[in-house]
């Protein structure tokens, strides 16, 4: 078991003032992205965006699901601190794509791309310079023929190759009577340097988000699955044991797992409470959930029992907060990150009606919830300028122009993708870190990064998965507030804790294992 030093967030004196309100300037019409997530029933979910650097220039590029239309890869050609600019890349127009997640599956240092589809999923090998090649067959990856809607990846102990979980939705042949027709999720485990035949994760309950996460910091991730109660029978949220060499098995009520049944659509994970353990925001319809370990103080021996603190912290995000609608909201992708660089994780939630559901808001603004010093959140989507009423699905906060402020891209159903540049004035300092290690699992999936300033310690698990149908792998952004420097360390996936190392604020650093942080200037 990993020896864990639980580092509690050492908050300074509670600040009476509200968080700094961020400002976002929409650059949808000038950024060069012209894309929509299209389609009818089979594309009512999905619509993800993958964010990663496909040409090794240090600027993160985007791959957008197209649903019934083509997918599209856009190269980020923004200049540091300038307006956002993207250029389409030929050759990535795939059909029936619901989502995508980057990962370096073959450990060659070039980012690959897992593409979720209505139909056969694909693993695309990165060739560099934003070129890709379908390697599914070569890697033994069975893409199946399902309606795939969720993804997560990890490297199990001792494995040279990733383990991938694919979440599958309704049996699309049952359109006339879809309820109760959830299809099996699949677990693709390593078999040497390729994938073994997939294992069905039975029972499956129409997953819309999956995440490998070391929820108790035991040193071994479990698979968290968020399921859509609209279509399952006898289902609930799930947590799977994942022990090397043994079949996955569900956590049970006798182990402390409590039955929760929601319209699970997305998972965002971050240590919000400052106890060193990941917390989980689960998107749904009407009220959303923010789960933190029920047993406090948390320890690696904790049972998987979670308390819902969404109400207490002000992140239920259950109803539109602007625009006059009183009907409840529909939430999809969610992401914790610090948009005003005050050192506290904020929360973005993409919102949008499923498709003309009269019981739910049609003008459903995205949320941007700013964390206060006391741990509660303040809604600022409207004043920040990101309260779009379009029908959002996937999204990503990422620093596209490398100015130290997180920008925002949102995929909308049947409407244009929107992109905003973060133009906040007076924001705090920040650092961006990119973990790397040799051998397998080069991006250190499963590591924990800790960033320490006088204000306390921020802890973050490095994962790929979760969200809604899209994720990002690359720079990890940490707001530092007023701190000019920060101490950082990495607890690597094998449990080895690196040394605390100092970095100057407002830099981008490669965190190579056994090396000092290396500042990286834009190419």
């Amino acid at each position: 078991m990993r020896v864990l030093a639980v580092l509690l967030m050492l908050c300074g004196p509670a600040l009476a003032e509200e968080p700094l309100l961020p400002a976002f300037a929409e650059e949808t019409t000038t950024a060069g992205i012209d894309h929509r997530y299209m389609g009818d029933w089979q594309y009512m979910v999905g619509g993800g965006v993958a964010v990663f650097d496909c040409d090794a220039d240090g600027f993160e590029d985007v791959f957008l699901a197209g649903g019934a239309g083509p997918s599209q890869l856009y190269r980020n050609v923004s200049e540091q601190g300038q307006a956002l600019r993207f250029e389409p890349v030929d050759g990535m127009a795939l059909d029936s794509v619901t989502g995508a997640y980057p990962l370096d599956a073959d450990n060659d240092g070039l980012m690959d791309l897992a593409v979720l589809r209505v139909g056969e999923n694909r693993l695309l090998r990165g060739l560099g310079a934003c070129r890709f090649q379908d390697a599914s067959a070569e890697w033994g990856f069975d893409g199946g023929d399902a309606w795939s809607t969720a993804f997560a990846a990890t490297w199990e102990k001792g494995a040279d190759w990733p383990t991938i979980a694919i979440g599958n939705y309704i049996d699309r042949a049952q359109e006339d009577f879809p309820w109760g027709s959830c299809t099996d999720n699949w677990l693709h485990r390593a078999e040497g340097r390729r994938f073994a035949a997939p294992l069905p994760l039975t029972p499956s309950f129409c997953a819309l988000s999956m995440l490998f996460t070391d929820w108790n910091r035991y040193g071994r991730p479990s698979l968290r699955v968020s399921n859509d109660r609209e279509y399952y029978e006898g289902g609930q949220e799930q947590l799977w044991h994942l022990e090397a060499g043994t079949p996955p098995r569900l956590y049970t009520e006798s182990e402390g797992w409590a039955r929760l049944r929601i319209w699970g659509m997305g998972i965002a994970s971050q240590d919000v409470t400052g106890d060193g353990f990941p917390d989980y925001f689960l998107t749904s319809m009407a009220d959303n959930k923010l789960q933190t370990l029920a047993a406090q103080p948390a320890t690696p021996d904790a049972k998987p029992a979670f308390a819902d603190v969404a109400f207490a912290r002000g992140v239920t995000a259950h109803r539109p907060y602007t625009g006059g609608e009183t009907r409840p909201s529909t939430a999809w992708h969610a992401q914790f990150d610090d948009v005003n660089n005050d050192g506290r994780a904020d929360l973005f939630v993409a919102k949008g009606n499923v498709d003309a559901m009269p019981d739910f808001a049609s003008d459903d603004p995205n949320n941007l919830l700013l964390q206060r010093a006391d741990g509660t959140f303040l809604e600022a989507g409207d004043v920040a300028g990101v309260a779009s009423m379009k029908s959002a699905r996937g999204a990503a906060l990422a620093d596209f122009n490398r100015d130290g402020l997180l920008d925002l891209i949102v995929v909308n159903r049947r409407e244009p993708v929107q992109i905003w540049r973060n133009v906040t004035t007076g924001a705090g300092h920040a650092v961006a870190l990119w973990l790397r290690q040799g051998g397998s699992n080069r991006d250190a999936i499963g590591a924990f990064v800790e960033v320490k300033t006088d204000a306390g310690v921020q802890s973050r698990e490095i994962t790929i998965g979760g969200g809604h149908a899209g994720g990002q792998l690359g720079w990890r952004h940490f707001g530092l507030g007023a701190a000019a420097t920060a101490e950082v360390r990495v607890i690597w996936p094998d449990g080895l804790a690196g040394e605390w190392q100092s970095v100057a604020a407002d830099g981008f650093y490669l965190m190579d294992r056994d090396k000092p942080p290396q500042a990286v200037a834009p190419n």
């Binding site: 009818d40 029933w41 009512m44 359109e175 006339d176 009577f177 879809p178 309820w179 109760g180 109660r229 609209e230 279509y231 029978e233 006898g234 049944r261 319809m285 009407a286 009220d287 819902d308 969404a310 109400f311 207490a312 239920t316 259950h318 109803r319 009183t326 009907r327 409840p328 499923v354 498709d355 003309a356 559901m357 009269p358 019981d359 739910f360």
Partner: protein
């Protein structure tokens, strides 16, 4: 009740299959043709799913839909089934459009038109999957119902069915329950002051207001108003350990600590959570559907049962809600955490509205009264409503046994005091008697 008894049939079902109203002017019908029984069965199967998958459909709202759907089907088949119209019997219903003298009608086509339009009328706010399912049912089942029926009969039957559905829907719009906003939770509500009264019990923001506080003022179907079967006040609130109120709370608490596996199963079997099940009234509709299918009941009989049962459960919720908000009693979880154990949690999720009486108990009592009237005393049956959810089939010697189990399940689940369950059953029996008084035959 589990494991008891085989299946018994009562004489009242003996008339079932033999009285099937055959579609007229049928020629060269294929084996794919849909009978009126197919039509009503398949639509109700879909309706039970729509109740589960339409967010507005909390139990009271669901019960209302069941009443109107049942009455619509009943009125469509009453002429050919030899049944008396409910117009002039249930509150506010005037005579529905009638069959033209000397003209042929297809009961299957007519019924399909009624159900197609009525389901769209009452579930128009369902999501894309429900919309798709309704459209597919309308098209595919419609083709089967019309198979082998002369085109003019199809057209005439469809037109009449749509007219009957429109008539029923127009009638429904004035009952006080036609518009449900924010899933039934008011945006503003003033809590009653005092320790005895309901306070929110949920961490769900939407549920900080009680569900449908004005539902008890809706126009009922068979009873004059929501207060016809009113209840005496609940036990006097007291935190004195010697009081009866404390004793009933302690019973909830101690029961929760000593639940057997069977009691847990009973609690979950009757939990019937909205948006995760067909809801409590849907559970009783499901029971009726299983019995009617098992016994090959003809379509008029199906419609009769579904109409009276729908009326009973709908009036049950109106009457129950009338009393809930008149007495406005707190939930066990509030009292027990305040007085007995601040860490206590019930097995089931506490519903977001006042405690007294138990809604499931009231409507189960009403359902048991009506079904006993229709099928007779000692009518044994099996209930597989939740088989697909992984809960086993339960067997009951009669309808009251099932209703009593539904009532006590709320004690096991920790969401009601005993008095609310027992008096809820009694209220339901009273409300059921109002529905039984409606004349359907003779």
């Amino acid at each position: 009740m589990r494991g008891r008894g085989g299946i018994s049939r009562r004489g009242v079902l003996g008339m079932a299959a033999g009285l099937a109203a055959l579609p007229l002017t049928r020629a060269a019908a294929s084996s794919n043709s849909a009978t009126p029984e197919d039509v009503i069965g398949r639509w109700y199967k879909l309706v039970l799913q729509l109740v589960r998958h339409t967010a507005t459909y909390s139990p009271p709202v669901a019960s209302r839909a069941f009443a109107y759907l049942g009455i619509a089907a009943y009125e469509a088949l009453a002429p050919s089934g030899g049944m008396r119209t409910l117009a002039g019997q249930v509150n506010g219903l005037t005579a529905v459009p009638a069959r033209a003298a000397g003209q042929d009608y297809s009961d299957a086509v007519l019924l399909h038109a009624v159900m197609t339009a009525s389901t769209q009328n009452f579930f128009g706010n369902t999501g894309p999957s429900g919309q798709g399912a309704m459209a597919a049912m309308a098209q595919k089942l419609g083709a089967r119902a019309a198979d082998g029926v002369a085109a003019d009969v199809v057209a005439r039957s469809t037109e009449l069915g749509q007219a009957i559905a429109a008539h029923i829907f127009a009638w429904s719009q004035g009952d006080g329950g036609a518009v449900v906003e924010n899933m039934g939770f008011p945006l503003e509500y003033t809590l009653t002051e005092g320790a005895a009264h309901w306070v929110p019990t949920s961490l769900v923001r939407q549920q900080q207001m009680p569900l449908l506080p004005n539902w008890g003022n809706n126009r009922p179907f068979a009873m004059a108003d929501g207060g016809v079967c009113g209840l005496e006040p609940p036990l006097e609130y007291s935190e004195d350990p010697a009081s009866e109120f404390y004793a009933q709370a302690m019973e909830v608490y101690t029961t929760s600590k000593t639940l057997t596996d069977e009691q847990k199963l009973i609690a979950r079997f009757w939990s019937d959570d909205p948006m995760l099940s067909p809801t409590p009234p849907g559970h009783w509709i499901s029971i009726a559907m299983q019995i009617l299918a098992r016994d090959h009941a003809d379509a008029p009989r199906c419609a009769e049962v579904l109409a009276l049962l729908g009326i009973a459960v709908a009036d049950g919720f109106i009457g129950c809600w009338h009393e809930k908000f008149r007495h406005d009693l707190l939930r066990p979880v509030t009292y027990i955490r305040r007085v007995i154990d601040k860490t206590w949690n019930p097995l089931l999720i506490t519903p977001p509205f006042p405690e007294y009486p138990s809604g499931h108990s009231t409507q189960s009592g009403a359902a048991a009264a009506v079904l006993t009237h229709l099928f007779g005393e000692g009518f044994a049956f099996d209930d597989a409503t939740h088989e697909n959810e992984g809960l086993p089939v339960r067997s009951f010697p009669d309808f009251w046994a099932a209703a009593e189990e539904a009532a006590v399940s709320r004690l096991y689940g920790g969401i009601h005091f005993r008095a609310a369950n027992e008096r809820g059953l009694a209220q339901g029996r009273c409300i059921g008697e109002q529905a039984i008084a409606l004349k359907t035959r003779g």
